[in-house]
Every structure is written in structure tokens, then in C-alpha cells.
Amino acid sequence: MTDIGRQQRRASRLVGGLLLVGLLLVLVGASVGSTGFDSVLNVWHDPLAWQIVWDIRLPRTLGAWAAGALLGLAGAVAQGLFRNPLADPFLLGSASGASLGVALALVLLGVSPFAADWLVRVGLTGAAFVGAVLAVLLTLVLARGVQHTLRLLLAGVIVGVVLGALTSLVMLMEPEVMQSMQAFMLGSTGFVGWTSWLLMVAAWVVCSVVAWVLSPVLDGLSLGEATAASLGLPLARMRVALVAVLALATGTAVAQTGLIAFVGLAAPHLVRSVTKTTHQRLIVLSSLMGGVLLMGADVLARGLMAPQELPVGVLTAVLGGGYLLWLMHRSTRSTAGTGL
């Protein structure tokens, strides 16, 4: 009993800590950039500084948070759904689906150089989203539903590999799209405006609510499929809903920011290393953790080599991976088998 109480206290302290760090990072994010602190100091007198802080730095910083939150949430859902700590949100093929969508859109846009402006604007993000969702649907069809976890995983891997190969094929046929594809695959928060941010937050709210309501399924699943079924939950329908959450969350994040590695995998692990908790809390905590992780990476990406920028995906992998590795070694040294 006292242990549960302690874990709960830890969880609420973690929420507080993550919110605080998040708030700090928003402030730092508003002040860091190629024009330096000047923009913040002059924000009230200089309309240009105002534009830089309000229209560029804030939406991109908050956008990084939203994208990270979506990926963190999706990671927690995926790991619960597949009962596998190695599951990441792109497991059902959404990443390769999004890449293929973007590659095809680039080819189509390239073929008709006079493609309308709105098509360019809607085209790439829309194509990424549609690609991600279609890939997940394809995985579901190939796995013949969601009942069989292993089948679902395998189908996801197969879809991922095949769509990835198709993307390579498209790039071979039209080498001109290769550079644009590379930019997409490295991921960037640099082009996020208020509209993108709003879209991501809306998706995050929807996904969080659904995941929150369905989290008892994830708790049940962690005890084994038989136990979950014996709890009398409509397992199949709830799993479909959770897969939908996964598709919506990753699709939205990928469409707005490109492929950002590792946040979805690392966020739930980082949370679990601090506290053991139910999936209801884990979902919220992973979201916050993912948001803070990506926002921190975004700030570093802008600051490390200013005025040049690093691709944020590179940093998330280095940061998240390094920290995770450290945690893993620490926990194996102190108490073998716990922690991760």
C-alpha cells in the first residue's frame, strides 16, 4: 500500500516537474534563435522582433511540444497494446506510409510545375497524413483484424519494409525528389506555424481523451490477453479504437514535422524509470515527457550551431538514446531486472 502511495506521489511530482521544465523550455525557446536574445528584449518596440518571437519562435516551440506529446502518447499506447517495450509508434507502418505519400506527392507536384499553390501547401502534409493512415489500415487488413498481437506486429513490419522499398523505388525513378525526401526524413520543427500547432493540439486532445478512456484495456493487456478478456472488456473494439489513436497521433505528428525518431520509444521508458504507474497516468506522463524531450531537442537544434540549424530528429536520437542507455546501465547495476 505504501509503495503504491509512494509511486503515486512520484507520478504527481513528475507531472509537476515536466510541466515546469516545459514552461521553462517555452521561455527559452522564445528567446533562442539565429537573431539571439535581442528579439526578446525588443519585442515590444520592434514589429520585426515581435514577428520573430510571436509568429516564428513560439509556434515552433509549442509545435515541438505538441509533436513530441503526440509521439509520446502514441509510444505509450503502442507499448501497452503490443505488450512490448520495444514497440514504437511507427510500428504499424505509419512512418513508411507517410514517406511514400510524401514521395508520391513530390513526384506529382514535380510533374506539373504549375501545380496550384494550395496543392503544394496542402499536398505534402496531407499526403503524409493520408499515407500514414492508409499504411495502418493496410496493416490491419493484412493482419486480418486486431485480435492477434503477433500477427499485427508482423504485418506492421512487413508493411513498413514494403512501403519503404516502394519509397526507394519512387526516389530512383525520380531522383529529383530525393533531396526533398531527405529533408522530410530528417524531421524539422522549423516550418511549424500556428495552424499546424492548432492541428496537432486538437489531435492530441482527441487522442488523449480516447486513450484515457480506453487505458483499462492496456492495464488488462499487461496481465496477458486471457486476463484482459476475462475482465469482460470488449477487447476487439477497444483495440481498434487504440490503433486508430495510434494512427491519428503518428499521422498528425509526421505530417507536420516529418519523421522524428526515438521520442515515441524513449518517452514511456523515461517515465517508467521514474515511476511505476497505471496506463491512465502513463499516457499523460508520456505525452508530457515526449513534449519536453522534443522541445528541448528543438531548442538545442537552434542553439548549438547558430545561426545554422541541426535537424531536430538527429538530436532526439542522440539525446533520448544516450539518456536511455545511461538509465539502462544504472538500473542493471543497482537492481538487476527492475527499471527497464
Binding site: S34, T35, I52, F114, S180, G190, G193, E309
Partner: protein, 283 residues
Amino acid sequence: MKQALVLVWLVFLHTVHAYQVSDDRGVQVSFAQPPQRIVSLLPSLTEMVCALGQCDRLVGVDRYSNHPDHVKQLPLVGGGLDPNIEAIVALKPDLVLMATSAQAGARLQALGLKVMSLEPKTHADVKRVLESMGQVLAVGDAKRVWQGIEAGMQAATLSLPAQVKTTRVYFEVNRAPYAAGEVSFIGETLTRLGVKNIVPSNMGPFPLINPEFVVRANPDVIMVGDVNFAGMAGRPGWASLRAIVNQQVCVFTPTQSDMLVRPGPRMADGARLMAQCLLKVLP
């Protein structure tokens, strides 16, 4: 195009302020007066602005723009595909020039900047984009610059003996290997010089080819950048290629490669480089 030019010219004669120029997305970009603070995110566009004598109107360039020397002092605003939005906005440009495929255009426009997407890919594009650029900058030099390029290309062609007609060339873009086909910008230059390209037009501009294809085609001359030339003779079957056995290989330095692969005002220089090399390696 001519009509548009005349129209723009008339507009200027009457000192009516606003004018419009259409870009490669088909968007009509309007100008109240000629832009004075330009950011260019594509090296070939940077070179065009400078070729039109308006280098000093540039206030920022992408990290790949390195010619002419003047632009090396300008602030860098990232790459064409990953530009630093904040750095661009901070330069307060009244025009941003960029490629059509770049995603940043929409974002920059949403922030209230004037964006023109121009992407020269062929010789004809260079002429067209140069003319558009002349209209935008309100300078009458575009025609003269193009004529200079034409004359340079012609001179390069004339410098070669008639026997090059039978010379078959393989131009390697990178060691994947991607080749420059007949319909590519580089292929057009080769055709102009009168040599044969081993990569026919139906294979597209820059196809990924099977190394075997080169062995079978057995070109007389290979053109390649020095980075990709390293180890070329060691590729399976390539040591016996006619071009390699007879040492008829044109190896270009990175600076020379820039000149060759950029569809811009230096394309005549590129043609001259190829012609000089052909003269040197051919018996």
C-alpha cells in the same frame, strides 16, 4: 514572353508603379517597385541575380551559394530545403527566391514575405528564368546576358574538331552511379557540343544505371567529379573500359563541378570546361 516584356517595359516608361511577374508555380507575384533586399535560396538563382549585375541587392543566400565571390560575405540562412525561417525574416527581405520543390515557401509566405519560386532545370529554363528575373529586378540586361551565354556555348562547340561527332561520353553525377542523361541539363550541353551521350533520352534526366550498362556501352570518354573518380578503375569490369585504358577521363574539381551542374549563367563556362577536356583527352 516577348509581349510580357514589352508590357513591363511600357509600364516602366509610364512610371506606373505596380507590375506582376509569373513564377514557376504559376503564381503572379506583384511588385510595387523593384525589390532591393533579396534572399536567394538556390545557387543558380543567386548567380543569375549577380549575372544581371544586381549582386548588391542580395542580403542573404543559402549555404550552397558560393559564386561569385561577393556572395561569400553575405549572411547564410541555411540550405534551400532546410532554411532558417527566423534568419530570413530577420533580414527583412522584400523578395525571397527559391526552388519550387522547397516546402519553406508556404511558411515564408504565411509570414508575409514575397516569395518567387523559380527552378531552372534545362537550357530553355535558364533563358526563361533569366528573363523573368530581368523583369523582376527591372533591368534590361537579361537578353544581353543570355546572348553572352549563347555565344560562349557556340564558341565552345566551334573549338572542337568535327571528329567529336562519333565520341561517346558517359557523365557520372555520383557513384551510385547516377548518370546525366540526354534530356538533363548536362546532357543538353553535351549534345550542344556535338558529342554522343551513352544514356539515351528515354532513360530520363538522371537515371540510376547498372554499372554493367557502362561496361556494355564502353564510352570513349568519361566525365566525373574527382570525389567519384577515386576507385573508378577498380569497379568490376571497368578497368578494361576504353576510356580508362586510354586515360580519356575528364576529372573535375568540386569548383568545376559546381560550374557544370548548375543550370545558371555559368553554363557556357561549363561547356568550355567540357570542350577543353575533350580536346585534351581525344587523340
